[in-house]
Amino acid sequence: MPIIIDEKTRAIVQGITGAQGSFHAKLMLEYGTKIVAGTSPGKGGTQVYGIPVYDTVEEAQEKHSANASIIFVPAPFAADAALEALENGIKNVVIITEHIPIRDAVNVMAYVEKVGATIIGPNTPGIITPGKSKLGIMPAHIFKSGSVGMVSRSGTLTYEIAASLTRKNLGQSTCLGLGGDPITGLNFIDALKMFEKDTETKAIVLIGEIGGNLEELTAEYVIREKYPKPVVAFVAGRSAPPGKRMGHAGAIIMGKAGTAETKIEKFRNAGVEVAEKPSDVAELLAKLVI
């Protein structure tokens, strides 16, 4: 069984009537994801590609009992949407929305901690279990079912590397974007734990970037737990000058902490192979999984 989502996942789309929400609801449906309902306050009673739309998650849940949600709600209202999903019993929530204020994200995560749920994102491309289910905005055709687990802080870079894996016939069990914001739900270590239990996953690709210390902590975790499956990493931002924010709040380096160099060094010390450029990931992986 892959991680978090599979063919049995029943999902709602929050913010389904917006341009992105409706566009991707259609793509997800076409991919085979069970999208059972959508929500959009003020648009209750309408339909989007045949999906019933409700004003509240409460009503959607009364009628459809979903177990996952994907959020396309604009940033100022996205934290509210996430809390709405969680309070109405949905345990897996993917937040696509970017530009959510940090304070809002912190509040959501504190609530998650209390109720026990899984948040992917915010500012994530989502999650895909190729051939089974997709809760995200990734272009589906670049993925292929297989045994490589992928977890990444960067959206488009995930596509880049997933596509190169697929070209080399290295299919994926589940691909998961953590999200590029300073505060996100799942982290690398959570994902490694899930992939460890998943019998379909034989090796893991981990895509990091400058800023923060999640990669460093993950490297320590790999050493401490003698992580049993092979891991290949790529870290974006080697050429980034310190102190400059690169594109989103996640990618900023302060002084020495969080540079690509320290992250790469820590990974290598932990026995994690680190690729020089995106296309090298597939080559390193091919050697490991044969």
Binding site: H99, P139, T156, G185, E209, G247, H248
Partner: protein
């Protein structure tokens, strides 16, 4: 968004945190006049948003109003790291006994805010952390429970204070927490927070970075950002106005991509093949054609750019919109530099179709495209 020192201190004062008495002046006459309201000796500080202001000569001590005028005159003619000094902050000099550090920032791993305190201050927190790690107190804040004055006192106690000083520090820390939350600060710090010779505490320097994503809750700063009253270059202001993430670098290959990770990897790959990127520009997710056109305009306005490398991998971004944006820029702005375009992902066929029809070639591999862009830049953009 970084705030000026005087803005950061005004916020602290609002939360009853002691700051030195001070005044803001934009010309030497005004500096002279305002200094008479204060007690000598003075410190005159250039209000710029770049780090290392002190070492660059941006802080001048003055014993008299006349010296303040001179200092202001000198500072207001200065450029610090390329940024013109437009105002100076004149304040009363503090009698320092000890310098402390106190700040609040985010803790990715614990998904929370964290208060960082140290009984050693006055230098960058990273330096404190590497020189005296045992003096760093990290106090995670549970946003559901809040940060209460007893938390503040517990931290003050760990810093070695007791009695009235502990109570006073408690009030200051609690004030900093509320200031940070109310202003959506991704970083708010007092460095140094000074213990004065008479045992009081004063925030001698203050820094606040407001979460850009929360500026909709703080229109006063959002407006200033857009009016260019900040540390940003012209291109950066133009980018901010259009919700584009742009950082100028010192190379000659203009880069446009979608997604910070991908754009960074693009820069890395250019460097890997021996080229030098001129900028970072992330159009973000789902950029419409107009935004792509503006991005091209911004990158092309940098005279150093010899070649343009557009690297798009569409997810929420649609390749057809990108293609239309490129054509719009071509027709409106006029693209005179050679372009290397790599375009795959959502609506890839439509996008390629549009560009192919306009006789613009499109590549599929990022590495191939990077190598081609590097080659063009080395030939001087031909």
């Amino acid at each position: 968004m970084k705030l000026f020192e005087y803005e950061a201190k005004n916020i602290l004062a609002k939360y009853k945190i002691p700051v030195p008495n001070g005044e803001l002046a934009t010309n030497p006459d005004q500096a002279c006049e305002l200094a008479t309201k204060l007690k000598p000796p003075f410190v005159v500080k250039a209000q710029v948003l770049v780090a290392g202001r002190g070492k660059a000569g941006g802080i001048v001590f003055a014993n008299s109003v006349a010296e303040v005028e001179k200092a202001a005159e000198k500072l207001l003619k200065m450029q610090i790291k390329g940024i013109a000094v437009k105002s100076v902050w004149i304040e009363e000099k503090i009698q320092i006994k000890k310098e402390l550090y106190l700040g609040i920032t985010t803790d990715r791993f614990n998904q929370s805010y964290v208060m960082i305190a140290s009984s050693v201050g006055g230098m960058e927190i990273e330096e404190i952390a590497s020189k005296t790690p045992e003096k760093i107190i990290r106090f995670p804040i549970n946003s559901q429970n809040g940060f209460h004055s007893f938390h503040a006192r517990q931290i003050a106690r760990k810093m070695g204070y007791a009695g009235n000083q502990l109570s006073e520090l408690g009030r200051i820390f609690e004030g900093l927490y509320h200031a940070g939350m109310d202003y959506d600060a991704e970083l708010i710090e007092m460095n140094p927070l000074v213990e004065t010779v008479d045992g009081k505490f004063v925030a001698a320097d203050a820094r606040t970075i407001v979460d850009d994503n929360a500026l909709f809750r703080h229109p006063e700063y959002k407006n200033r950002l857009l009016e260019g009253e900040s540390e940003l270059t012209l291109q950066e202001v133009e980018a901010a106005k259009n919700d584009l993430a742009y950082v100028r670098l010192d190379g000659d290959i203009g880069v446009i991509g979608n997604g910070a990770g991908l754009v960074m990897a693009t820069l890395d790959t250019i460097q890997y093949y021996g080229g030098k990127p001129a900028n970072f520009l992330d159009v973000g997710g789902g950029a419409p054609a107009e935004k792509i056109a503006v991005a091209l305009k911004i990158v092309l306005s940098d005279p150093n750019v010899k070649a343009l490398f557009i690297n798009i991998l569409g997810g929420i971004t649609r390749c057809d919109e990108v293609a239309r944006g490129i054509l719009e820029a071509k027709s409106k702005v006029g693209v005179t530099k050679p372009m290397v375009i790599r375009l795959v992902g959502t609506n890839e066929d439509e996008g390629k179709g549009i560009l192919t029809e306009a006789k613009i070639p499109v590549l599929e591999s990022m590495e191939d495209a990077a190598q081609q862009a590097v080659a063009i830049s080395k030939q001087g953009g031909k």
